[in-house]
Subunit: 295 residues, 3 copies
């Protein structure tokens, strides 16, 4: 049985100071995980796929969420006409679009994803009790998911969460678009973005526009750059959003990530937030110095 | 260390409608699990064995029970005179008898085990804080377990749960018997059953008779058939029980399970319940369409 | 990915009677665990190391602590100038000193570690949100850790827990010293001890002296012996502590541990406690008969 399952994971810990606190601390804000996954070739292009991923906080040893397998837990089939998975899983709009623009990929204190691409509490990273379809052809990827209402809406409506995304890459060029209609009545959001790898630098930019569950207009954008310098990746991003009634949030982040190997890096990052929505908040700067290991 | 532990598991998810609800949903009613187990050969017929099995609900990513290792968690010794295991484990009456008649093995909406072979809330699938002895000789298997009262009785008595079972198989023929005296004062149950593989079809039938914790007489029976047709297993079962005071419960189930490999299948099932005990209930039919992968 | 992670663990279960109860029971007082760990060689003496260890109670199948990864969860770097780990981890004073004298290593009913080397509720086995530095040179080992206050002090102070330890071994000889200043205001403790392997027997003795969080003086000591006889290890220990205001606690323990292999043993132990601090307690004797398997 052992040969049919792969164990993988990520541990990431840092010392630093998050924004909105003055406490220096041991931090784990980068999704440490332990997962099990596998593929069985059934012949004729058919494959069975499965996986489940636990998320935890290695600074304290606690599971990161009430759901033990919060990362995902799925079983599905890969066919010549696309892949279908059932279970708890990423929304296509998140994993194929919203997570693709931020040079930090949502990790470290400097990440901009949750300011510029996800805002107003509209989007979901994952849905439970869901069916998702994915198709990849010649650089083009398409994904769509639908999920049960009750397990995803927190009791606010009968809407079934829907998420659709597509992206395309060719050589140095990547472009993507996503649409999400989560489980509340009025909430929905569009995202669009792209990346271009100039060789000495990758530039990325994304935009999003939507409506919150409370019916407020919301929009956001993010620009990012990654510059490889030897074993370093120098990363910088600027993100902002504006939610009617709540005001504007801005965030700038910069980091130097030194790759010790393909699997291990040490990193240092700094960030500052601002904008009218943060006017009454203290401690708007943050920084970290940490290590990440993937296995 | 890695060579001494085997990782195994099962993921099973379906779309369908369980009985007693009108909600179509993503369902996981087939005991999805992740386990770790191993055997060490100590020489002279002696072996150390261990294992623990986590149960979870892949539709939501949550652990299925308050006990993380709800499946079992045991360590023991195999000798030439039988095997002894300590820990949380299946009762012999469940795993060697009650679970052997239902062609669905307790899985899917169509399963009959918990109607015809387990009824009146008498039986336990597993006991905690237990000692179990097993002996297998020439097709004959015997098991007996005893467990602490406090961790298994929910505070109702001082009875130590006892479970004893035996079965025998020879070629196409299988017969088994089980006895269980759980942790409450009056509860006890006998089960008996058999299977015969005619080649084109396996027929199974079982019967149980007991007394509930409240002192009520209870009995049940189950008949099942499995017909292999190419890669399909066509399964059908009918089960019923009658508990004094509660009345009669009947259940019919049918399914078509298509084996994509030894480890992976897709399946469709339908079921209907009835009987006087269900007279005031709505939504007595159910169905599912799903995939199961074992690793 | 599988090649980069090692799975290991320990299952230990016994039947017996702990002290302070008259209930015979299935017992798991020896830290059963499941862990994942790995090392990546980064070249030039640099290595990335990680690990996490789950503790559970195999008698019931439950996780042993609110923290799922209660054993430890760390990621760090090994350099030519020592090792640094971040996360939840053992204190140096515990793992390099307090745990080294008891011949039972804290396991079984007969263990003396938590009487003679850890007393008055002063010491911590592990700290969360910590940084630890370790250096090993020519038989000499040094460790020091500091941790956040809030996640370790139960709300009693702003002290950052500090732990420092060193030990040295040469041939049959081992000596160690530890100092710990946990998270409360007044608590601190020194431990010192040694072992000598005479070939036919290993003798060990340790002493500790400190102040409890409430400001009371506390001291303890432990002597132990391990005598290998064929596949048996005969173990005996005597431990005592005296905490101002609480009085004296004494414990004697003896055991016969039969090694079925390097990884598996069966064991029988007996113990008795006494002293003025236990004067009003009943059931001061305990015993166990069990099996331990490491994988």
């Amino acid at each position: 049985a052992q040969s049919s399952v792969t164990i993988y994971g990520k541990l990431d810990l840092a010392v630093g100071k998050p924004v909105l606190t003055e406490d220096k601390q041991v931090m784990d804000n980068t999704g440490s995980r332990l997962g099990f996954r596998g593929v069985e070739d059934l012949g004729g292009g058919l494959k069975a796929v499965f996986g489940m991923e636990h998320r935890f906080s290695p600074d304290t040893g606690t599971q990161a969420n009430a759901n033990f397998w919060n990362g995902y837990s799925t079983v599905g089939l890969v066919t010549n006409f696309g892949m279908v998975n059932l279970g708890r899983q990423y929304t296509p709009a998140f994993i194929m679009m919203q997570n693709q623009i931020d040079p930090f990929g949502g990790d470290t204190v400097a990440a901009g994803r949750d300011v510029g691409m996800r805002f107003g509490g509209i989007t979901k990273v994952r849905v439970a009790d869901s069916i998702r379809y994915d198709l990849s052809v010649a650089g083009f990827n398409f994904g769509a998911s639908i999920a049960e209402s009750a397990s995803n809406n927190g009791g606010v409506s009968n809407d079934k969460p829907i998420s659709v995304a597509a992206n395309y890459s060719a050589g140095p060029f990547w472009v993507g678009v996503g649409y999400e209609n989560p489980a509340a009545d009025e909430d929905k959001v569009w995202n669009i973005g792209g990346r271009y790898n100039f060789g000495f630098m990758t530039l990325a930019a994304g935009y999003g526009k939507g409506t919150t569950a409370a019916g407020a207009d919301a929009k956001g954008w993010l620009i990012g750059a990654t510059v490889p310098v030897g074993a370093f990746d120098i990363k910088a991003m600027y993100a902002a959003n504006d939610v009617d009634g709540a005001g504007e949030t801005k965030k700038a982040g910069i980091g130097a990530h030194y790759n010790l190997s393909k699997r291990t890096k040490v990193f240092a990052d700094a960030t500052k937030i601002g904008g009218s929505a943060t006017a009454n908040l203290d401690n708007k700067t943050g920084y970290d110095l940490g290590i990440q290991h993937n296995f």
